[in-house]
């Protein structure tokens, strides 16, 4: 097969469209320290809302993004309310909302459907507006125009998130995730901060879902199935690339991680890897990355045990312990 750069540019555009998912997962998983499965539902519902507004109501693609944002934020808020006010375990609360969202996604997708319920939606029959049409005046390929548009939107979203997370509110949300006791003792309403963070996180993911649907000219109700693992893979790849926990760098890392992941998948597919195999490979990659600190620690301890073998017994244990 001949090398076609546009294939990889298209993969890059997909990665950029998915960057909001990675950043949303970074917010819940790394900032709030809470595995939030709502994002799977938010991604799908974001795509469905945007798709139906474009196809059934003739909206401009860009104009559907704030609606997707709002719907995603409501989903995150629902999980937050279940968790903080009704004291339901966070993971379970997110599963409940995710499950409920599946029905909502199907209902939204089926608006105006001739044959009742449908679980997939084509965003393209030749007449609908496309995001990349905004750049129709540029002498570029379709893939290149998509990539530029997706990059522009991803950068704007990243800057907005950076602003939010660096603000007084952002600091309060981060403190809630790091040390809830301390957060309350400096007067932070930690319940509200959790709800706000989950809302922002899922809002980002729903916008990402809308962008993915527009980028593919297609969406279906099950796009969220692999969302968490793919998003986590992007977050972890990003952490390897930027190696900084500072908010700005972490957000850029998640964005880059998403692009790298999707280009890597494209490369794998070009090497005759089956599409159906990518999920297992991704899952193994994430397991490996999450386990790395543990595995590394074991090796370190092993090495230290050896190097302290000649010390008096009472000193051996202490050298192996971390300072913090």
């Amino acid at each position: 097969m001949a090398f076609n750069p546009d294939t990889y540019i298209q993969a890059g555009a997909t990665g950029l469209a998915y960057s909001g998912l990675a950043q949303g997962i970074w917010l819940s998983f790394r900032v709030l320290n809470l595995p939030d499965l709502t994002v799977a539902g938010s991604l799908a519902v974001g795509g469905a809302v945007s798709g139906i507004l474009i196809t059934a109501a003739g909206w401009q693609p860009l104009a559907t993004l704030p609606v997707a944002l709002l719907v995603g934020m409501l989903a995150g808020l629902a999980t937050g309310l279940l968790h903080t006010k009704l004291k339901i375990n966070a993971l379970l609360a997110s599963i409940l909302v995710m499950t409920g969202l599946y029905t909502i996604t199907l209902r939204v997708m089926s608006i105006g459907a001739a044959g009742g319920i449908r679980s997939e939606l084509s965003l393209y029959n030749g007449t609908e507006a496309q995001l990349r049409d905004l750049l129709a005046w540029l002498p570029l390929s379709v893939q290149q125009r998509s990539a530029i548009i997706m990059a522009a939107i991803a950068i704007v979203l990243t800057l907005l998130l950076y602003w939010l997370m660096s603000s007084q509110l952002g600091l309060a949300m981060r403190a809630t995730g790091v040390n809830e006791q301390m957060a309350r003792s400096v007067g932070i309403n930690t319940d509200n901060m959790k709800m706000l963070l989950l809302a922002v996180s899922n809002g980002m993911v729903a916008v990402s879902g809308a962008l993915v649907a527009q980028n593919n000219s297609y969406t279906d109700a099950n796009v969220g199935n692999t969302a968490i693992v793919v998003g986590l893979a992007a977050v972890i790849l990003g952490e390897v690339v930027v190696r900084s926990a500072a908010v700005g760098w972490a957000l850029i890392g998640a964005l880059l991680g998403s692009v790298i992941y999707h280009i890597a998948v494209q490369i794998a597919l070009a090497q005759q890897v089956q599409v159906t195999d990518t999920q297992l490979v991704t899952a193994l990659l994430v397991i490996f990355a999450l386990a790395l600190p543990q595995i590394g620690g074991q090796f370190k301890r092993l090495g230290q045990r050896r190097s302290t073998a000649n010390l008096p017994t009472h000193q051996r244990g202490r050298l192996g312990e971390d300072a913090d």
Binding site: S166, V178, R184, I188, A245
Partner: protein, 263 residues
């Protein structure tokens, strides 16, 4: 400044593990008073501070801070009036955040948190000045993550954070107990400096009898959820640490035997 009347708190009420932590406690503190609290383990010292801070809800009684009834006010709202330093240096700061971010969080105590920058230039110069007064070189490390600091530095930072936005009440829960022998006296000196400078109404729990008498202007002894000794003025000045220890043990035994006889 602080008025507590008939405060009660029982843990695991109605079960076999029922513990009466605070039983009908009364305490009144004037503005600017600095009281130390001593008592054996399980006397209810930490529970009392947690009730005042709002981390626990009482079963009954009343807590007023600065003439306001805060008995059932949520902890995060009460935090606008109460500064706290915990025994564990890790508890009072957000380890994954930088020194200046932690201070900014404390500076915003009691204010609305909005979309303005969390840390700005004006705050930074203020923080640098305040950190400089600690004499620990922290003014050079505004951008350092707090979990890279030593326990003593973290506790000094927590002291500063608890008092940055002047609280009506400062609660110190054995805040030097987990520090090494070099850091503990520095935090003690810093405590006196800050409390005296700002004239803060302060409650300090300690296990060190000498410190309980040397610091502040009032000493309270707690036993089984009640204040059984309240020393101040000349009486306190003429009490030595060994006398206090003697009263501590005799009082404990006396109460113990009373309970055995009549309880």
């Amino acid at each position: 400044m602080l008025e507590i009347s008939n405060l009660r708190k029982t843990f695991n009420a109605g079960t076999a593990h029922q513990v009466k932590a605070i039983s009908g406690l009364n305490l009144s503190m004037a503005a600017g008073e600095f009281a130390t609290i001593i008592g054996s383990n399980g006397a209810g010292k930490s529970t009392l501070l947690n009730l005042i801070a709002g981390a626990y809800q009482p079963d009954g009684g009343r807590i007023n801070i600065a003439e306001r009834d805060v008995t059932y006010t949520p902890e995060y709202i009460r935090a606008t009036q109460v500064g706290r330093v915990f025994q564990d240096p890790l508890l009072g700061t957000a380890g994954a955040m930088t020194v200046e971010q932690n201070l900014a969080l404390a500076l915003q105590r009691g204010k609305r948190r909005g979309l303005g920058w969390g840390v700005d230039r004006q705050m930074r110069s203020q923080f640098r000045e305040r950190l400089n007064s600690l004499g620990m070189g922290l003014e050079q490390r505004l951008g350092t993550r707090v979990n890279l600091l030593s326990g003593g530095q973290r506790q000094a930072l927590t002291m500063l954070m608890a008092t940055l936005a002047r609280p009506n009440l400062l609660l110190l829960d054995e805040h030097t107990a987990a520090l090494d022998p070099l850091a503990a006296p520095r935090i003690t000196a810093l405590t006196e400096q800050i409390v005296v400078q700002q004239g803060l109404t302060t409650l300090m729990v300690t296990h060190n009898m000498a410190m309980a008498l040397a610091m502040g202007n009032r000493t309270l002894m707690m036993h089984q959820g009640e204040i059984i000794l309240d020393l101040s003025g000349a009486e306190r000045a003429h009490t030595s640490a060994s006398e206090l220890v003697a009263r501590f043990t005799s009082r404990n035994q006396e109460l113990l035997s009373d309970r055995m006889l009549f309880g």
